[in-house]
Every structure is written in C-alpha cells, then in structure tokens.
Amino acid sequence: MPQIVVENLVKTFQVAARAPGLWGSFKGVFKREYREVRALDTVSFSIEQGELVGYIGPNGAGKSTTVKILSGILVPDSGLVSVMGRTPWVDRVEYVGKIGVVFGQRTQLWWDLPVIESFDLLRDIYAVPENKYRAIRDELIAMLDLRDLLDITVRQLSLGQRMRCDLAAALLHDPELLFLDEPTIGLDAVSKLAVREFIGHLNRGRGVTVILTTHDMDDIEALCRRVLVIGNGRILSDGTLSDLRASVTRERWLTVDLADDASLATFADPDAQLIRQEGRRFCLAFDPKRVSVPDLIARIARNYSVHDLFVENPPIEVIIARIYAQGHAEAGGARASPIGRSH
C-alpha cells in the first residue's frame, strides 16, 4: 500500500466579492456576494514510501491547499486521504507527530527565543526521548551547519539561516514524511544550494518521503524524479520531468543579440517563430525536427550581423504554463462559478 493515497479530494472556499468603489462597499454592508472558488477539484494521486515528489503549479492552483489538507490543517469538503493509514484531519494530533512540515514563508521557531531553546521546546512538544533527541539534533546541527546559530534569537537570523534552522526544527522528531512548501523562496544562491543538497541527502540517505512544492524550477530539476502538476484544482500531469517536457513540446528556443540596428525591422527566419523582441535581442522558437540547430544558426549568422546567440529548452515555467493552459481548455474553461447569496 502506498504511503499516501489521495482520492477525489475537493475543497472549496467562499470568497466575499465586493463591487468596486464607494457604492460597492456600501452595498456590501447589506448584501454580500459570495463566490465559490474550487481550490481542489477531484484531485487524486498516490505516493510510495521514499519518493521525492515535486508538486508544482501556478499561484492559486491548489498546491498549498493540498499540502495543508495532507498535513492536517484544513478539512476538505469531500474525498479520501490516507497517509500512513491515517486520515490527517481526523487523527490530527497523533498524525502530525509523525510528519514534518516546513512552510518557506513562515517560521515555526519561537521568534523571541534562541534557536536551541526552540529546539528544546519542540522536543517537549513532540515528546522525543532525550537520547534520541540529542542524537538527531547533533546530526542536524552538523549537516545544516547550525553550530554558530544556536544561541541567537530567531528574529536576528537572516532568511537563509532561519530556513536551515526551520528545516532542522521540522526533523527533530524524526518524521517519515516531510512536506516542504516553497522551502527556497527568497533565499540567495548559496542558501538555495545548501537547502537543496540537504533535502536530497535526507531523501536518499534516510529514506524520508518528501513532497516539495515550489516555484523554483531549478529545485525541481535538481531534486525530483517525479513531478505532479496541478492547475485550477486538478492534476494535469504526473510523471518525470523529461516526460513532462516531451509531452508538451519538442520546441527549442534561440536567442539572438544583433550587433547593430540595421536589420531590426526585417529580422525573421522562415523556420522559426518570433516569441518576443527586446531592443536588439530576439527570441525565436523552432522545432528541431524541422530545422536542425546548426542549420538555423548558420543561416541566421549569414543573413544578419550577430553579436551573440544561444539555444535553450523553453524554461520549465513555460512548459508548465502550457500544460496549465491545456488543462484549462480541456476542463471547458472557468470553473469558479459565481453564486449570489445574501448572508
């Protein structure tokens, strides 16, 4: 049996809609329009013990809602969730003792306490036996290089330092399952790498199942063998990253910087499509099956005076955006249906 089973999960939120302007505010006092937004619309998937799954999608797609339901915070409208044989929102108190959660935009450490005291407090909250606690704590301190941070109060930590401490805090009770909601958001390059390396190590070395939501596609490329894409409350795709790319498009991008303004108005190629232009920089999309990369580059270099050029895969963001657009079209357009209701 998979460690996580999610079937037909549905969660809707009521959003108070107010007409704009003074009159709208005035009307809102007496009669409120509510719009029902389906954050999750029959989401199903399953995850095996020891997997490292990237869970991605645009803002508002339902990523965080899924994570919050899986971590026992939110109660869904309908659907079935079984994680390690438990229903998170039913057995919340027992269940959350076995999972670790990190929300990148928040901290679970006590703002006014030194880091080490937050750790000790978590030991008491999770009732971790002292020997086990010491062993795990010391290992985490070594792995995340926290030694110099332990006596500092949390509010004085930088974001990167805080995130390392938060990761440690989520693991002190040795959970089998870790939810990471945007753990690298706002971090500098060095901190990002450190966090990524740690997550990879945790998954490979200790067999901790990790569910990672992120907007940083480098996180996904570096870490995740499997990627779940959600858009508009539905799972749009489930597979490896290269499958995902292949399923959407073969397309490559060529970026060209022209050396002068002479051919700005006439720049074009029969086998490539112009995606955008910024000053002298042109970005073209082409199908490598129709025109080979060397041919295309040679032709452009011959016809125009080129300062620089490079070929790349479309950013994963673009792939995701296309999957999202496809999913949207298949679902028949808008799902958020306004319902008028006085309250």
Partner: protein
C-alpha cells in the same frame, strides 16, 4: 502534559523580560489606587448610612484589586492574532498537541507572568503605606489562594474565548476594545461589587466576571465566609468549566472552516 508545561515556562520566560512595562504598570496602578482610595474616603466621610462594607475593607479591596488588576485586563492573544493574520496559525496546527489547550496555556502564562511581576510590589507597597491589611484569617488566606487560582483560570478561559473569536474576525481589534467595558464595570475594579444597588446584585452574581477579582478579594476580607465563600468558589470554577467546554466547541467549529490567510 510536559509539552504544556514547557510552553508555559517558555512563555513565562519571554514575558518576564518586559520589565519596563511592569514598572510603568506598577506606577500607574499605584496612582489610580491612591485616586480610588481618596474617592471612597470622601464617600465614607460624607455618608452616615450603614454600608455593606466598612471603610477599612474597601481600602484593602481597592489595593488588593489594584495588585490583581491584570486579571481584569483581558484581550485576545496578540501573538495568535498575528499568527492568524499572517497565516502562521498553520504551524500551530501541525503540532501534536491539542490547540485549545495550547491557546489556554498561552493565555494562562500571558496573565500569570505580568500579574506576578506587578502584584507583589504593589501588595508590599500598599501594605506598608496605604493600609492594605493581611487576610482576615488563615482559612480566608488559604481560600483566597484557591480563588486567586480560580480567577486566573477564569481570566485564561475568557482570554481563550476572545482569541478563538479571531478565527472569524481576524483582526480582533473590535472585540479587544469591547470586552474591557463590561469587565471594568462588573468585575469590581471600578466600584466594589457589594456597593452596587440591590436590584443589580442578582445579575452581577450570575455573571462569570465577578469571579475574576471580586470573589478572591471578598474571601480575603472574610466578606464572603463559610457557605457563601464555598458557593462563590463553586460559581468561579463552574464558570471556568463552562467557558472551557464552550471554547473547545467553538474552536472545533472554527477549525472545520479554517482558512489560512496568505496562501
């Protein structure tokens, strides 16, 4: 249990750092104590009618009341308010502990720590200079401690309710401004409750608010003794129980419809 004790002690250690606030509070409470004492002095001098409390009792009631003032200054937990506004409350729910007990514990430490820091200096000061007397008897002293604890639990259960209301109101500004008005009036911190008119007494007697400071104060003074004292203690603890049960039910309801702010 260990978890809650750990949280209690850590909150306590955090709150005990606010020494300037405590000093300012002590100054203000001493000042208002003197003002109130002068008002009631004038009242007793100008009236020859027999009052439900003697002048000496009122003075002790006022000063001990000033020392315990923090039990009447109830507001929603500002830390939880911030958590709800920012969505950090999500983390509170990923702890393997009961959320009501957690918020109750926070409320308890939030009342107890500043209370201790202010009560003891005011008690000593007023005892030395303003005629605050000791407890009427040993029995009264023991029962006072029990009812002081009751008042503390009552304050915590009321605070927890105010905090839980944040799940609906989010800001908590409104309720934290409304709550002090009835509490100021019906707790005895403005006018000792026995001095209220007779037709209002039954209403005051039913409300839980008198359990905050009036019950402990009158037990201390022996103004409530014997069966009356036991009944007052029962009233206090029954209300604590009722408020805890209500708080748990309302919180459970709020959590079913929880929305985490800010995604």
């Amino acid at each position: 249990m260990k978890a809650y004790l750990a949280i209690l002690s850590s909150r306590f250690r955090i709150l005990i750092q606010y020494r300037a606030a405590a000093l300012a509070g002590i100054g203000t409470q001493l000042f208002f104590g003197v003002v109130r004492m002068m008002i009631f002095d004038a009242f007793y001098r100008s009236s020859s009618a027999l009052q439900p409390m003697t002048r000496e009792q009122v003075i002790t009631y006022i000063w001990l009341g000033q020392a315990m003032l923090l039990l009447t200054m109830l507001a929603a937990d500002t830390d939880v308010a911030a958590m709800i506004r920012t969505g950090n409350v999500a983390y509170e729910m990923t702890r393997p502990i009961d959320l009501y007990s957690l918020w109750f514990t926070r409320a308890l430490s939030g009342r107890a720590a500043p209370l201790l820091m202010r009560a003891i200096p005011i008690f000593l000061f007023a005892g030395l200079f303003f005629g605050l007397r000791g407890p009427a008897s040993v029995a009264a002293g023991v029962m006072f401690v029990v009812s002081l604890l009751g008042g503390l639990l009552l304050a915590a259960s009321m605070t927890a309710l105010l905090t839980i209301s944040l799940l609906w109101t989010i800001s908590g500004e409104g309720i934290s401004r409304l709550a002090p008005a009835p509490i100021f009036f019906f707790s005895g911190i403005a006018i000792p409750l026995p001095l209220f008119p007779g037709w209002l007494q039954w209403f005051i007697a039913v409300l839980p608010i008198r359990g905050l400071i009036d019950t402990p104060l009158r037990i201390y003074l022996d103004h409530l003794a014997g069966a009356d004292a036991v009944a007052a203690l029962a009233h206090q603890y029954i209300w604590v129980l009722v408020l805890i049960i209500a708080g748990r039910a309302i919180l459970a309801r709020g959590l079913r419809n929880l929305v985490v702010q800010g995604g």
